[in-house]
Amino acid sequence: MLRTIDVPNVDALFRDVPKEGVVGREVFDALPDHKGELEVERTLSRMGALNISAGSVPFFCGAGAYRHHIPASVDHLIQRSEFLTSYTPYQPEVAQGTLQYLFEFQTQVALLTGMEVANASLYDGSTATAEAVLMAQRLTRRPKAVLSGGLHPHYAATVETLASLSGKVVHADAEPGRAGDLAKLIDDETACVVVQSPDVFGLIHDLKPVADAAHAKGALLIAVVTEVVSLGLIEPPGAMGADIVAAEGQSIGNGLNFGGPYVGLFATREKFIRQMPGRLSGETVDAEGRRGYVLTLSTREQHIRREKATSNICTNSGLCCLAFTIHLALLGDKGFSRLARLNHGRASSLAEKLAAVKGVSLVTPQFFNEFTLKLPKPADEIVDALAARGILGGVPGSRLWPHQAKMRDFLIVAATETSPEEDCDAFAQALAEVVS
């Protein structure tokens, strides 16, 4: 090969690199040499074994990431080489597999959220929410975003980071278990109101009043969903007046993965699609008239539009969309509805058990599979004490709102189909012991 290239050695290929830029192996002394598969597996397995995995203990954490049972065929199918090791479908003739499942994914997301159109995913729910706010600012040419107090604080911080660059972000107070009055924060400068339901405390909201209040002032309603399984039982945002839905799709098909990769769902009304961020798969025909799919409306995107693009996103969550699509295909209407009911049933029963513990009260009167308790002691101490007893008993207020004394005694608890009755009983018993 070197003869064909006509150089004496590989070093000669790097001749454009300034001398001071080239370093030898010794510079990386702190890094080891290569290892065999067995040894790598051993090293990483040891690291993994230092963690307490959710499936190994009674487990009740939620707050934006949920543990659900994923049918075995989902993970098997997404590991097929043709899905796993393909690139973004820029050459549609040899990427119909990817383009068709993205089209199916878009349809599923639109159906679930009750919206007209959906894109082929963003990174996750939090970045989808930030993109939704930017889109609302573009559509309304107004600067202000009003965030409800029940919006996940990580989402609120993500929105703040991005949307405050060219606009203004107003945060309503977080009041666990209460809807809060957002209408008074909406004015003629308001581009959008962002409401999460079920909110970070688990409370389900009727979005209609806030949608009406927003629309009356010419603002848009952005509905955020972090637990999409709720849409199997609860009225979708599209039926309650939402203009944009930004959601976290992890719950369907995707594992907890310590926070990522997840899959951002993004749906809106058809009239807004030209301001939508992210890729879209669209139907068309080939030269022989056969139906096929292509990436479309790409004049919105960075690789065509550069600094005038609707977003800078390129790589999205392709394979996580596939996992979502497969899992939802397996569920169908019947399975999805049953899954949602099962979740609600488990959480309702657990809430009653826990609220029966002396000194503990339930602060979210209506919820899906997650609720908030007020404890007689700081919740982080309780969570630590529960962890010492081998129970991962939810997310304490101080984890999401550090230094906010008023949030300290709240505990956010989730129960899904993966929380069997005996685990719920063990939780209730342990909670009774540690709060007393």
């Binding site: 830029g21 990386f28 993970d75 039982l233």
Partner: protein, 519 residues
């Protein structure tokens, strides 16, 4: 006619019809597959879930009023649907995938296995920190590899892909400038840059000034130096650049930028050319994202997920976003609030919920441990060698706009197609008929009809030779006037050329029930 012992014809002469019209619409192993929504029936379900008795007293009257409208399929139907779809895709596991700037290298399956260990895959991001010390130590170990390989003091781990990393880097720059009490609004971006660069700069609130390229494929360094002024926030360069060349005057440009108080953002998409051999920190870089899904082999998955950690210089490190990972006597901790951040730091905000693409971190670290510092260096050298072999073998058959040597990708233009009536697009589609995924086309924009070929270190010499033969054969065909072979291509893919204009003019972005579609 050749017969087997029971009298059945076996020879190739047995074929009488070339393309029989099939009753099924399928063609042998090539299956047509309807949409999910055109399959299935009401009431079918591919998962066993009991029907729970629930009360509606905690639903606040907000129950769903209509069913979602999802089709019902059995498990075998779902499996078959997606297996059939998969067979319509090209993949790196199936063949050479020479997409320039995308680094389609082999994805080792050990990495998949490791990411699925329950100790990583089944952890909740908000579990008590003491129950995830192993996971946090893995992130810390990956940070050590990334900072050591780049010669940079710090790294922000939360960005979820390359473009998200760019945004993180530019927001750190914005915060650093603000903390100096200055306002700088301009970012200088070369005309050869990835589209994400100007898009990110605009998203981060900057205006973009384009720096021209020289005829030799390098950025016009003199022009860039002239454009530098005290209202410039940063220069944003890709190095090696998108023409496959190492920017020779990079250090000088970094110094010039620093001299006027600007920062140097480096797009790290092409790090696979230099990893283990060149440290961006030695070149004056202030921020650079690393696409773990390129250089460190996490699979592209049909367009994601990726991961884009950003290494930061000492000047930018204090502004890294939350959360911060620290280690003290209590073990590893995540800092989630600016109030808890060390006094020397000023986090600019938050890129996303939680703390990054853990699944990708495990895969990337598995790759690093498998390759070691020696293997990563070897991989870069092999990638550069492979690209130069292609460039040297094809530069007189196709046409190469710039002198070699190149780095890890070889750039060609459409000069060799002049007068043939064949375009870069046609040529690319003909490659599909040859069983190859096309190279990156029409990018970078600074070259006419660009064809950017990145073979990566994964290909053997035999594989490269075969690719070279095919490319040379196609070039010969084009030059000898066999235009129809190109204009109609692909002939042999699951679909012929697709009508993108129609797709954009009247967008159909979802399936809808027939009656709804007609109303």
């Amino acid at each position: 006619m050749t017969m087997n012992p029971v009298g059945r014809p076996t020879g190739i002469e047995a074929v009488e019809m070339e393309h029989p019209q099939t009753f099924s619409g399928d063609r042998g192993l090539d299956h047509e597959e309807p949409l999910l929504f055109e399959l299935g029936r009401e009431g079918m379900c591919g998962v066993d879930i009991p029907q729970a008795q629930i009360s509606d007293k905690r639903l606040g009257g907000l129950q769903r009023k209509k069913p979602v409208g999802l089709p019902g399929l059995s498990e075998p139907e779902v499996v078959r649907h997606f297996v059939r779809l998969s067979r319509m895709n090209y993949a790196i596991d199936a063949g050479l995938y020479p997409l320039g700037s995308c680094t389609m290298k082999h994805n080792p399956r050990l990495n998949e296995k490791m990411a699925r260990l329950p100790g990583f895959g089944d952890l909740h991001p908000l579990q008590p920190e003491r129950t995830v010390q192993g996971a946090l130590s893995l992130i810390a170990e990956l940070m050590r590899w990334l900072t050591t390989l780049t010669g940079m003091p710090a790294v922000a781990m939360s960005p979820k892909a390359g473009a998200h990393g760019e945004l993180c880097g530019l927001l750190a720059i914005r915060a650093a400038i603000k903390s100096r009490g200055e306002q700088r609004r301009r970012i200088l971006v070369p005309s050869s840059a990835h589209g994400t660069n100007p898009a990110t700069a605009a998203l981060a609130g900057f205006t973009v000034d384009e720096v021209p390229a020289l005829a030799n494929g390098h950025v016009d360094a003199d022009a860039l130096e002239r454009m530098l002024a005290n209202d410039v926030a940063a220069i944003m360069l890709t190095n090696p650049n998108t023409c496959g060349l190492f920017e020779r005057r990079i250090r000088e440009l970094a110094d010039a930028a620093h001299k006027v108080g600007a920062y140097f953002y480096c797009d790290g998409a092409n790090f696979n050319a230099i990893a283990g051999r060149v440290r961006p920190g030695d070149l004056g870089v202030d921020a650079m994202h690393i696409n773990l899904h390129k250089t460190f082999s996490t699979p592209h998955g049909g367009g994601g997920p990726g991961a884009g950690p950003v290494v930061l210089s000492a000047a930018l490190a204090p502004f890294a976003p939350l959360p911060l990972l620290v280690h003290d006597k209590g073990g590893f901790r995540l800092i989630e609030s600016p109030d808890d951040a060390p006094p020397s730091t000023k986090p600019f905000g938050r890129m996303c919920a939680f703390h990054g693409q853990m699944g990708m971190f495990v895969r990337a670290l598995a790759y690093m441990l498998s390759h070691g510092a020696d293997g990563i260096r070897q991989a870069s050298e092999d990638a550069v060698l492979a690209a130069n072999y292609i460039l040297a073998s094809l530069k007189d058959v196709l046409s190469a706009p710039f002198e070699g040597p190149c780095m890890h990708e070889a750039l060609f233009d459409d000069h060799f197609l002049e007068g043939t009536g064949v375009t870069t697009l046609d040529f690319a589609k003909a490659m599909i008929d040859e069983g190859y995924h096309p190279m990156t086309m029409y990018f970078p924009l600074v070259v006419h009809g660009a064809m950017l070929v990145e073979p990566t270190e994964s290909e053997s010499k035999e594989s490269l030779d075969r690719f070279i033969r095919v490319m040379a054969g196609l070039a010969q065909e084009a030059k000898s006037g066999r235009k129809e072979r190109f204009a109609g291509a692909p002939y042999l893919a699951p679909r012929r050329r697709l009508d993108e204009t129609r797709a954009a003019r009247k967008p159909v972005l979802r399936w809808a029930p027939k009656d709804a579609a007609e109303s």
